[in-house]
């Protein structure tokens, strides 16, 4: 298998193949002596040149994180043969952007109306969870096209709250 991997914004080309004893592994063309065992779902034990690493995998509403020991990395994995290609390669700046609820909670206030202009980082909604109020900010400069979650609505992590264009 060949993968394009992005770890905290840095791209790697990873080639992996099962061998008789363990794995054949190349990272950016460099061969790496490596062994891996899946200890349980989402937990991997990896040995690289005798050094042992425990890796934990975690999915949030929007991202995948990998923890090597106690250090967290944002990870993205793509199959370069896939037609979908790289997700959102240029969607960050152009096109409509969805605001997702980072946690379950209740929409307390909507601060910006539809068709109003917003700056990057400007608060659009206030979501309350565990008695704490959390401001949900605009990821880009643009216009609020749609407020999906009304005041008083209960939302789950990953729910679309608003769309900014």
């Amino acid at each position: 298998m060949v993968y394009d991997v992005t770890i905290d914004g840095k791209d790697y080309r990873l080639e992996l193949e099962r061998a008789e004893a363990g794995w054949l592994c190349r990272l950016d063309g460099r061969e790496i002596q490596m062994d891996a065992v899946l200890a349980r779902r989402d937990v991997l034990s990896v040995l690289i040149a005798g050094k042992a690493y425990e890796i934990k995998r975690e999915h949030t509403a929007t991202d995948m994180h990998l923890w090597v020991g106690s250090v967290r990395y944002l990870a993205e994995l793509r199959d370069p043969r896939s037609l979908r290609g790289r997700r959102g390669a240029d969607a960050d700046e152009k096109g409509p952007k969805k605001l997702l609820a980072p946690m379950p909670g209740k929409v307390m206030r909507v601060l910006i109306g539809e068709e109003q202009a917003v700056e990057v980082g400007q608060s659009i909604l206030v979501v309350e969870a565990m008695k704490m109020q959390n401001e949900i900010k605009s990821p880009k400069k643009g216009t609020v096209r749609k407020i999906v979650a009304a005041e008083g609505a209960n939302v789950n992590a990953g729910d679309v709250l608003a769309i900014v264009d």
Binding site: A36, R57, G69, A75, V160
Partner: protein, 508 residues
């Protein structure tokens, strides 16, 4: 002794009390709201009863529902835990009226300590050292100015019925006093329906040190050593330890004797905590008494070898304290970390949700009091405390190294927790030197975090690929494959394809 105890609480403290009941051969009764049906305390108790909707006012704070469950289940005592009804004098009295034993002090003791001005008046009479100030509500701005001029600025205005920073104002200059007093009074009126505000001298960079006391119903009162609780954020304790790095045997005896005097003046029985502010010259002043079991009681249990919940139950059942002051020995050092569901990268906002992966620390000197489990969804409706991790060692250095080691073993996936904050505190030079005060944590959080050493992004890159091959059930949607394939090329179950489809949808 009691036959059956109802625990009027939830989360880790309910589990803690249920365990004590089981150890003593007493049946336990849990209560739960709509969102707590699957919570750990319900799973661990002998009996469990539904008491209403998530809002605490309609469930965990509802006297009638809780007393009704006590009656229906045949419980002969109620343990309130901490928070919720634990310091509610009216509830303690309602238990007496219903013929159920409240495991805690009497309503009268709670009432005395519930009003800060009344507590100050009683403690003044008992000769307890107080922060200089008034022990009655301020009647006018002129009176406030006279007192402030006498005790010296800066001063603190505090609501008599106060708590949680509400109705509190720090005043640096005489010109600010009048408007600050009016603001504090109206805030106190709104928050507590009581506009009484008093004045205290502000102690600069104080430590917050508290003394555990235990009193039976026969007039025997002992102190069980102090807890250093200076590491706080927004008036919330985050990490506690016993003993305090600055308290020696002589200071412990003096503080302990004052704490016993406080408890006796309040006619106190059961477990309680006397809180002190300690200034830079190690003078200590009575702050308030907490009339309940504290969150941080495990550090005292580890350093004294006593089980405070067992003792609470035995005292409430009318037994005498089974030991005297001279039998209490402080041995070793214990530190507790409060593990909260909150996001350290997002200003410590709460982070409820489903726990998808839970790896637990163990080994020498580690105690874990927890209310969570893997697969459980942390509800949004309550305090974000998930668990407490406590490290014990023969001395402070060993306790720190064991706890640091255990924090690296601990992993909570799917939600954010403050575990990384504790790794930072425990490796901080000032913490290790015991240089603490109530401003410590704010200063630490404002400082630049240390560079992460030993990062391994290439290992993460390799692991990403291995996961996709060995454990593809939850492979990221951006992978681009229509069907996840396992290592042998078979398409995995339909359930995960549904999940994948849903994830693709949600990612847009």
């Amino acid at each position: 002794m009691f036959n059956k105890i109802l625990i009027a609480n939830r989360g880790e403290i309910a589990v803690r009390v249920i365990r004590a009941c089981r150890e003593l051969g007493i049946a336990s009764v849990a209560v739960y709201s709509d969102v707590d049906r699957a919570s750990l305390h319900v799973r661990k108790a002998d009996e469990a009863y539904h008491i209403g909707p998530p809002a605490a006012a309609e469930s965990y704070l509802n006297f009638a529902k809780i007393l009704d469950v006590a009656k229906r289940s045949g419980a002969d005592a109620i343990h309130p835990g901490y928070g919720f009804l634990s310091e509610n004098a009216k509830f303690a009295q309602a238990c007496v009226n219903a013929g159920v034993k409240f495991i805690g002090p009497t309503a009268a003791s709670m009432e005395m300590m519930g009003s800060k001005t009344r507590a100050r008046q009683e403690m003044e009479k008992a000769g307890v050292p107080l922060v200089p100030g008034t022990s009655r509500g301020l009647e006018s701005a002129e009176q406030a100015e006279q007192v402030a001029a006498k005790i010296g600025y800066p001063v603190m205005l505090k609501a008599a019925a106060g708590g949680g920073g509400k109705g509190m104002r720090l005043v640096h200059r005489a010109e600010e006093l009048k408007s600050a007093l009016e603001a504090a009074q109206s805030e106190a009126e709104r928050a507590f329906a009581d506009r009484e505000v008093y004045i205290e001298k502000t102690i600069i960079n104080p430590r917050h040190i508290e003394m555990q006391v235990l009193a039976d119903q026969h007039g025997n009162t002992v102190y069980l050593g102090e807890r250093e609780c200076s590491i706080q954020r927004r008036h919330q304790k985050v990490l506690e330890e016993s003993p305090s790095p600055i308290v020696d045997a002589d200071m412990r005896r003096r503080m302990g004797e004052v704490a016993v005097r406080v408890a006796k003046a309040a006619g106190y029985s059961n477990a309680g905590t006397v809180e002190f502010l300690v200034d830079q010259d190690k003078n200590f002043y009575f702050l308030e008494m907490n009339t309940r079991l504290q969150v941080e009681h495990p550090v005292t249990e580890l350093t004294t070898g006593l089980d405070l919940v067992h003792l609470q139950i035995r005292i409430a059942a009318g037994e005498m304290l089974p030991f005297g002051q001279e039998d209490v020995r402080i041995r070793g050092h214990a530190i507790e970390c409060r593990i909260y569901a909150e996001d350290p990268d997002n200003n410590y906002f709460p982070s409820p949700g489903k726990i998808t992966l839970l790896l637990l620390p163990s080994g020498p000197g580690i105690r874990r009091d927890s209310g969570m489990y893997e697969g459980w969804t942390v509800p949004i409706d309550y305090d974000p405390l998930l668990a407490k991790l406590i490290g014990y060692g023969t001395n402070r250095t060993q306790a720190i190294s064991r706890l640091t080691r255990a924090l690296h073993e601990y992993f909570v996936g799917g939600i954010k927790t403050n575990i990384s904050l504790f790794r930072r505190i425990l490796t901080d030079a000032d913490f290790q030197a015991g240089k603490l005060d109530t401003g410590y944590l704010d200063r630490l959080l404002k400082s630049k975090p240390p560079e992460v050493r030993g990062g391994h992004p290439e290992v993460a890159a390799i692991a990403a690929g291995i996961f996709a091959i060995l454990d593809p059930a939850l492979a990221p949607a951006s992978n681009g494959n229509s069907f996840p394939k396992s290592a042998d090329g078979k398409v995995s179950g339909t359930a995960s394809s549904w999940k994948r489809a849903a994830r693709v949808e949600s990612l847009g």
